[in-house]
């Protein structure tokens, strides 16, 4: 590799970045795994509130409906416009994170179960928000991957913003 040629320089920059990137990840306190893993899918859910074991699982439409029927709080991770156009009945709006945290805490404790959803199985906002909420101390989080698309198709209880 001749570092005086443009291609040699590009190869050097990529190689050097790999060394720093991988190397720094080895020594960082918040290191991430080499390969990303999908969010684990819940086999069965027992949202008991006594346990303090942290939970962050993906759930199906049926599981989401069961939690909804049990009165579990839902949080909509989509933008305002989508929320206004239609959302799961009683779901909280995704405001600024601190505002959302205050809204949730006004309703329930941090160790109570919470379902987060976004638009469809392809969107990642629900997972992002779930991780943010987990970092903020909420420890029973369920990500409804099917989101608004599956819920509205199933014609389950929903409402529009007033």
């Amino acid at each position: 590799m001749d570092i005086r040629t443009p291609i040699g320089q590009a190869v050097f920059l990529v190689s050097f970045s790999c060394i720093i990137g991988f190397g720094s990840n080895l020594v960082k306190a918040d290191a991430i795994p080499w390969i990303a893993t999908e969010l684990e899918i819940a086999d069965s859910i027992t949202p008991e509130t006594e346990s303090t074991d942290p939970v962050l699982l993906a759930i199906s439409l049926n599981q989401a409906k069961n939690l909804f029927d049990d009165g579990i709080l839902f949080v909509d991770a989509r933008d305002d416009d989508y929320y206004t156009a239609g959302h799961i009945q009683g779901a909280l709006k995704n405001a600024f994170l601190m505002e959302l945290i205050f809204s949730i805490e006004a309703i329930q404790e941090k160790n109570m179960p919470l379902v987060v959803y976004c638009g469809d199985p392809g969107c990642g906002d629900s997972e992002d928000l779930a991780y943010d909420l987990q970092d903020s101390g909420f420890n029973k989080l369920y990500v409804f991957k099917g989101g608004w698309l599956e819920w509205s198709k199933a014609e389950y209880p929903s409402e529009m913003d007033e």
Partner: protein, 150 residues
């Protein structure tokens, strides 16, 4: 006068692209897990490789930015700018074409301050791409310290 203008323009573009890449790298370096999630949301990287990308890409952006500003390996840095911007444009376009509404993860990987992808994101990357081409195909290599003669 025209020559002077061209030299100034190239240096100006080097500064602009360099500062943007350095700025874009900082939040990603400090929040690798959030950046990995942002990459994963594009659904364009197979086999869970988004984590490895999240480890390397921010450092590459930082190095490229520093090289452009410092006048070190400017050709290589410009090539990497072009490659990265093409990848970004492709990733954003395919996400938009599939109707995925996600945050860009371009400058901030925080869900509070990040901006969503859209046509303006693509236009912004095209502008950086054009500037990178101008830098790569510059006539005069002024204010560059390594290599001296290519």
């Amino acid at each position: 006068m025209t020559r002077y203008f061209k030299v100034q323009l190239v240096f100006f573009f080097r500064l602009i692209v360099g500062i943007i890449f350095i700025y874009a790298s900082i939040d990603k370096i400090t929040h690798p897990a959030a950046f990995a999630t942002a990459i994963g949301n594009y659904h364009a990287v197979p086999f869970g490789l988004e984590n490895m990308m999240a480890m390397v890409l921010p450092w590459l952006e930082l190095l490229v930015g520093v090289c452009l500003i410092a006048g070190i390996m400017v050709d290589g840095a410009a090539i990497m700018c072009i490659v990265m911007n093409i990848v970004f444009i492709f990733a954003i376009s395919q996400a938009l074409a599939r109707g995925i509404s996600i945050e860009c993860g371009c400058f901030s990987v925080s869900t509070e301050t990040g901006d969503n992808i859209g046509l303006e994101t693509i236009l912004r990357d095209i502008a950086y791409l054009v500037m990178s081409f101008v830098i790569l195909y510059r006539n005069e290599k002024r204010l560059e310290f390594f290599p001296k003669h290519v």
